[in-house]
Amino acid sequence: AQTVTQSQPEMSVQEAETVTLSCTYDTSESNYYLFWYKQPPSRQMILVIRQEAYKQQNATENRFSVNFQKAAKSFSLKISDSQLGDTAMYFCAFPNAGGTSYGKLTFGQGTILTVHP
């Protein structure tokens, strides 16, 4: 079974600055996916970005990018030009690749990010 660890319970950043959220994981699988989800105060979880483990290139979605280091089992999220609307809880998540739990997400503990004006 895989495990996902987020070691930063809370982070804060000034508007327009850059912040990096950390995530480490453990798995015996060689090919897999990793996700970052955002949960604003409205509670609705939204997918921010995904990474496929077999791809060397780090995923990027507008102001969001990841630093994926497969050997170190590290998957950090960088948010550039932070905006007030980025204030939310962020979860790193690992979906099961097979078996009866196909797609089941294992989540990290979450990081609360606050963007200050």
Partner: protein
Amino acid sequence: GAGVSQSPSNKVTEKGKDVELRCDPISGHTALYWYRQSLGQGLEFLIYFQGNSAPDKSGLPSDRFSAERTGGSVSTLTIQRTQQEDSAVYLCASSLAGGAPYEQYFGPGTRLTVT
């Protein structure tokens, strides 16, 4: 199009009562997942449906919890004889198919409070 919807958004119940939580997934999504979010336990998986079948019920915490899905669409999570430790936000998610590559779309959740 419409996203995943859940009802009720909030539910307060007395200890020992039964509750039903409903999830309406995105039309055409064959996979449906239930998760529970609580302060002490974080986000944890409860059950996974592929169509109307539940290949994985391993996350259901006790036999007081059950779930069904009908017509490959709506799902109901039932908690019998509720306990205070059942207080949490129950999240439902659906995806086009079961599997790691597929994005899961989440509903807004049902906040359950057991008094």
